[in-house]
């Protein structure tokens, strides 16, 4: 089945230790998003790719970077995680030209010790 896959589902890292979260999709969608969601809050958009074009939200900290080496894969790099970066990170895809329906992965729960 076509889907959005996130690995790992749970990630534990230490304060200041770089971490990479991955997202892959078999939907062949050209738009990919990364959201951060903290407990009982709305998903907050960090950035998105429209094809290879990177679009950073104005309030996304510099600590967060992203890479999209090809259509199928997208990575979220947190260079120096702080305690405040503990959250669920959601990847989503979308096919441009449609109704903006987004397809989400199951998320990666990040814990920072």
């Amino acid at each position: 089945d076509a889907m959005v896959i996130q690995n790992p589902r749970y990630q534990v890292t230490q304060f200041g230790k770089p971490v990479t979260l991955s997202c892959s999709q078999t939907l062949n969608h050209n738009v990919m998003y990364w959201y951060q969601q903290k407990s009982s809050q709305a998903p907050k958009l960090l950035f998105h790719y429209y094809d290879k074009d990177f679009n950073n939200e104005a309030d996304t900290p510099d600590n967060f970077q992203s890479r999209r080496p090809n259509t199928s894969f997208c990575f979220l790099d947190i260079r120096s995680p702080g305690l405040g970066d503990a959250a669920m990170y959601l990847c989503a895809t979308e096919s441009s030209g449609t109704n903006n329906e987004q397809f989400f992965g199951p998320g990666t729960r990040l814990t920072v010790l």
Partner: protein, 110 residues
């Protein structure tokens, strides 16, 4: 920035009852979508309603949109325990980014 705001924040009902959640937003939209999120999982798209539509149905779901009041409602009829989840409205304003509300946490007890 957050655009939508759901009401109530939490809702507890018994199986078989109907659940109604409301969403208000601030600016003009192209469409409004509702998503469901089970605990610790990703979001699942439920239904989309365009700005020129007033009501839409999908199975046990009924969505209304009132653009003059900048509000939408999601009705789940004959609720089941499996409907327990958080429900988010998301508005499509400009470009590709959706703005999500804080969500309504629904608990359906047997």
């Amino acid at each position: 920035s957050q655009q939508g705001e759901e009401d109530p924040q939490a809702l507890s009902i018994q199986e078989g009852e109907n659940a109604t959640m409301n969403c208000s937003y601030k600016t003009s939209i192209n469409n409004l979508q509702w998503y469901r999120q089970n605990s610790g999982r990703g979001l699942v798209h439920l239904i989309l309603i365009r700005s020129n539509e007033r009501e839409k149905h999908s199975g046990r779901l009924r969505v209304t949109l009132d653009t003059s009041k900048k509000s939408s409602s999601l009705l789940i009829t004959a609720s089941r325990a499996a409907d327990t989840a958080s429900y988010f409205c998301a508005t499509d304003v400009v470009g590709y980014a959706l703005n999500f509300g804080k969500g309504t946490s629904l608990l359906v007890t047997p």
